[in-house]
Subunit: 285 residues, 2 copies
Amino acid sequence: MPVFESVTVLGAGVLGAQIAFQTANHGIPVVSYDVGDDAIAAARHRLDAIVDQYVADSGREKRAAAEEALTRIRFSTDLAEAVSHAGLVIEAVPENVELKRSVYAQIAAAAPESTVFATNSSTLLPSAIADATGRPDRFLALHFANHIWRQNTAEIMGTPETDPAVYQRVVAFAVEIGMVPIQLHKEQPGYVLNSLLVPLLNAGAELVLKGVAEPETVDATWRIGTGAPLGPFQIFDVVGLRTAYAIASARPDEGSQAWAAYLKEHYLDQGKLGVESGEGFYRYR
Amino acid sequence: MPVFESVTVLGAGVLGAQIAFQTANHGIPVVSYDVGDDAIAAARHRLDAIVDQYVADSGREKRAAAEEALTRIRFSTDLAEAVSHAGLVIEAVPENVELKRSVYAQIAAAAPESTVFATNSSTLLPSAIADATGRPDRFLALHFANHIWRQNTAEIMGTPETDPAVYQRVVAFAVEIGMVPIQLHKEQPGYVLNSLLVPLLNAGAELVLKGVAEPETVDATWRIGTGAPLGPFQIFDVVGLRTAYAIASARPDEGSQAWAAYLKEHYLDQGKLGVESGEGFYRYR
């Protein structure tokens, strides 16, 4: 018997769709909620593309099971109905604290008392939302990375109010759907991965801004020196330069502002957005 | 004809011996200087071990050439004589600015006018030594990493006084001995690699010190999230916890002091020094 017999994923964007697929692909029924028929139509296309990408990564023999997994995903545009039988709700709606709080207020009334709520938020701490859930002891963060089946970390972070037994059930769920559970004992902005990655990327940006070395040189040094497959600027290109710009421009310090201006002038204004646009610090294809 | 027809390496410690081997293994005659007969005897043993390690990494068919390379290394305990015919002197003596300045003052008088001097210092900027060389235009930093044939970066960093033509000759030399030249356009403490690595290691240390997650968890997150072979604490073990302690304890900020104290209490005081002692954050063999 699975840890949670039914899982509802709120939001069928890039990551929401991947979470729905990963869960269904491990045998668990999923309700995928989004705001309207257009969003659901987009989600169906996205899931087909996810299956193709998953099969490309994992082997053709995985296609039949992956397509069968899609049959375990039911779509809904009715928020109260979507959560009415959920054991676990994973919230992956846009990163807006007021929007999230409003969604939690609605599902708090509609979901069973026992339902566990988890936010996939990358940028908000769960304690910023906990009181809106009406069940802070059954609420925590469960954070996935893009390419969920390949970068298969699930960062699990409670608030001081999260019931330890609930936390452990979510750890067990993460394992059940093929994730490596990354257990955080305290709230930490950026969780573990971004707490490590951001200082590395900032250090690379600083070397280039100061004119110490070119991006290619910085990346080659990192790859050779540490054996990593990608240097900081290759990672910037994967993350996307619009995201890098948004993060840098939101920070008040001089270095971040200078980096944001550099990205805008040399990359964004020239349509160079990273891998997604075919060119960033490097050219692709 | 090689860029420099003869190379003298000052200091036959861990890295000095590797530099001598790497240079000789690319066909260039080397003079290996150290302070006395005991140091030279140790250097001979070290070079034999280097050949074994190199062959283990590179394949048995490389042994004959590697052993022949050793015949191109001549040992000397006479500093003036060691540099008297050198095209390039690579200084790899202990990281003490007064010692280095004294060595440069001696070789400035003994080496030909045209000889280029390069320091392998990890922790000093070349501008802190340049005036002692008597030839600041023919002086720069040429920084190698441990396991020189595998982590084959050569970070090349001049001072504002370094002649660009000399800089480019040293770049060409680095390529000639099988290195990837990492060209820094300005002086930068820690060069490129440590400018990236130190912030990553500090971020990992902070997560553990704050009690957010265990070292194994941090490392797993980094490996899965970035595809890197080693997480921060695996790197700490390779670098050696005494070195990590020395660096942290020399810094005045509270976080570094707390990390130094943590390393001392939980690792150094228990003989856990990292890979070198068989145990650090992890156990080895």
